[in-house]
Subunit: 511 residues, 2 copies
């Protein structure tokens, strides 16, 4: 088939990383700013994040969590409290050292601003908030009656990135970070797992991304955590993306920040804490999971606009009639519900060439486009086009039928995206039982393009941290997780060391 | 009447500023953090902000605005583009100068973190985003067809404060900042006014705060703006609070940031821009407007919880029955609607002494408390207590009646708060026509407590900027605004200079 002139160039097959950059731009989701590593999230991208945010927020609230807000700036002395944590984030901290500017006349006559008012103690912009929230929790908790404390924060964070990539890895990003304190070890662990379940369910049901739940190895753990659980997605170049993490922090942070309470027996005890987060990285994951060579495809549940109505106006005399008909259709569609909420509809009334307008919406990935022109009005029909089928595949439906079947159509698209993503993952997951096969899988398949790897390699493993690091260095392959699912549990021998192993782990190249 | 033992100490009359600090703490809304000037917004305070945020957001979206997100950090060179703007914010900018930390062993053996990786160009944390958003708009806009561009951002900002006060004036605060670009002068001005109307309506209908709309004098204008409109509230110590501003920026920022477009005639033209914002300061305004000596009073429309159900459990045997009855009542109440949304209900099941629990909710200002115990269940009644009437004033209502009248009760409370605030303002607004009366009004009324001022002085004014500054210095009184309302337009003579004046302005002490 000849390449569509409107398609994204290069295609996914030709150059996946470049396709990603192009598709983000073409869909008008975000752009790089002149501030190194910081992105501008444009209205369509932010609208998507708003949907993710409000839907996840409901899930957190339904499980008893409340939102709060903590300071952006963290004193250096707070970071120093937990050594492993401090070292983990030291290389990527933005540091505030002054609190005012002085205007000076530059040599060119222009005003220059010079930092002044040096701070006695510098601050870092939060890369994550365990230490600053720990200080508050230490004040809030007095007795076991104050537990569990279940708090979430929606915020921006900063981790200085040398190789930023829109949504996936940016110096500033938006996220939610949950922070909880529990009376016992067991309750904190239960929370860690409960959140992972919420993340998995959200990814699957809302983002149409099947994710594998599992635990990170020691090498990949959050700095300061005792255990880190994660959800891992496979995207279309068969790499893995860590899409969310839930950390069991034991008593590391409660001891560092004195989060203590009078226990049931009256003695002083330290709380057991967790922290967990997902970020705007989910947007990048979604794009890489579902996009095609025409643009982004947004799953209906999280689409800022689920249905766009495109009035077809062949001549000026029919403009009013067509626009009125489109407005009536939009009003009626908004009375339909999908997943318990009114269908989100928009009419694109801009005066521009119809083909160009249509392609804008294809690139943006709106789930359903409806075209309506004078002939449709005459016949009482509309032309419905789904984003998950080829752009020319129109269904002509009666107006009433289009209305009554819209929830079903949206549901079908949601399901077909999930099915495709599931199929991709199944197709590119393989049990591998020797180092030779392992090396071949990750290098030999595509000798011309060594960056295209095999997929998820399900291997027995009993190697050391150093062994893991060596594989990462030699093949850019890491253990994504030790999966939770029982199907991975079986006796076997480690592909590298030959030592006995009780379950398979997942190796993959990753973002 | 003897002072309630649970009341806030001091009372509003005794010491209003201290009452404010105490009431914020007693209501568990926010607290100071160890980070100078930065507050922790606790769940009850953040829940209130979430209501404000989502309700305002709907109003912005209904008028065609879309949300987006721009970088937290602003290069110094951006600030330098608009000289007046840069100077206006220079003294309160947090400056980022380094992008990593190095761990060093301190003399005491502990790890110390030292800033390293000095940046070639330092950044400031946004005190407001005109310059960074202007850079994006300059990229986005090519032709008059791209206009108007109507963008809003919900974000944190930082203005280094030497004398912070929770919610009213903090180094970091949360806000929304709207930024728009228009083809013509007239359209930009229309937008500036439209937003002011939204702010006024939101303050009145949602926060139950009657605000005066008007324009700032040159002295009080936003740095870089041509005209600044504002809403001004009076709070219970009769001072004014500027609760929101809407700026007409003319072409100042579009010229500084090259926000230009090809006009209808094909020539290059500069856009006309506006910016506008409200912040977490609204929470402080609300507390000072409505609180009483028992605690905060939250207007029903923005209360995170509108009705709290307090189960009365005199003996352990009835616990289950009472809790079941309370749950059934909560379920039924949530099916009622107030202002088009389900009533927000919470059951407080904590095991603690009933009086203490009741007082917690009084202090938090929940609009309606419902007590339900074994005797109520027997009689089929509940005890309903409104927060805007004395704490002992219970209404015993049949369960069905309580359900069916809840929306009316909430509406009555909302209205009574607005009425009270309006009465306060009317009582303490006075036409003043001479400097003697002016001085007496702001100083002599309460010679023991010079910090308690008279209220809003409605005066004719034709003085200079320097005259204004002198009044501010001598009496701590400033022109809050030149009111929009026609009733202020009349011929007169300036109280200070005796020059002719066309309308009265409002002088007041202010936060």
């Amino acid at each position: 088939m000849p390449k569509q002139k409107n398609a994204i160039s290069p295609t996914r097959q030709e150059d996946f990383p470049e396709w990603y950059q192009q598709v983000v731009r073409a869909a008008d989701l975000a752009e790089n700013s002149e501030v190194r590593g910081c992105m501008v999230i444009k209205p369509w991208g932010y609208g998507l994040w708003e949907q993710i945010q409000s839907q996840l927020d409901s899930m957190f609230k339904a499980t008893g969590h409340k939102n709060a807000y903590f300071p952006l700036l963290i004193p250096l002395s707070y970071l120093e409290k937990e050594a492993e944590h401090a070292e983990g984030f030291a290389t990527e901290c933005a540091v505030v050292t002054h609190h005012r500017l002085e205007a000076q006349a530059g040599e060119d006559g222009k005003t220059k601003m010079i930092p002044t008012g040096e701070l006695t103690e510098p601050f870092v912009i939060r890369p994550t908030s365990e230490t600053i929230i720990g200080a508050a929790f230490s004040r809030w908790i007095e007795s076991y009656r104050d537990l569990p404390l279940l708090i979430n924060q929606w915020a921006n964070v900063m981790r200085w990135e040398m190789r930023p990539r829109l949504f996936l890895r940016t110096a500033e990003f938006l996220w939610q970070e949950g922070h909880t304190v529990h009376e016992t070890d067991g309750e904190a662990w239960e929370e860690t797992e409960k959140i992972l379940d919420i993340y998995e369910k959200f990814a699957r049901e809302h983002l149409a991304i099947p994710v594998i739940t599992g635990e990170k190895t020691e090498n990949e753990r959050f700095p300061g955590a005792e255990r880190t659980l994660c959800i891992e997605a496979m995207v279309q170049d068969r790499k893995a993306i860590q899409a969310g993490t839930s950390h069991f922090l034991g008593q590391n942070f409660s001891k560092a920040s004195d989060i203590s309470f009078a226990g049931r027996d009256g003695t002083k005890q330290f709380g057991w804490t967790t922290s967990w987060g997902v970020s705007t990285r989910l947007v990048g994951t979604l794009i890489m999971a579902h996009g095609d060579d025409d643009g982004v495809i947004i799953p209906p549940r999280v689409a800022p606009t689920q249905v766009v109505i495109l009035p077809v106006i062949p001549k000026e005399e029919v403009r009013e009639e067509v626009l009125n008909s489109a407005t009536a259709l939009a009003d009626a569609l908004q009375k339909q519900t999908y997943c318990g909420e009114p269908v989100r509809v928009e009419i694109d009334k801009r005066e521009m060439q119809g083909g160009a307008k249509n392609w804008e919406w294809i690139k943006k990935g709106v789930p359903v486009r409806i075209e309506i022109g004078p002939r449709d009005i005459e016949k009482g029909t509309v032309a419905v086009v789904r984003r998950d089928t080829p752009p020319k595949e129109k269904q002509f439906l009666g107006r009433e039928e289009a209305l009554s079947s819209m929830a079903t159509i949206l549901g079908d698209i949601q399901q077909s995206l999930l099915d495709r993503a599931m199929e991709l993952r199944e197709q590119h997951s393989r049990k591998i039982d020797s180092m030779d096969d392992f090396v071949a899988y990750f290098t030999a398949e595509n000798p011309d393009k060594p960056e295209i790897h095999g997929g998820f390699a399900l291997c027995h493993w009993a190697g050391s941290n150093e062994d893991e690091e060596k594989l990462a260095k030699d093949y850019k392959v890491t253990i994504r997780c030790i999966p939770t699912n029982k199907e991975f549990v079986e006796e076997g021998t480690c592909i590298l060391t030959g030592k006995p192993s009780q379950q398979r782990v997942i190796f993959a190249k990753a973002y």
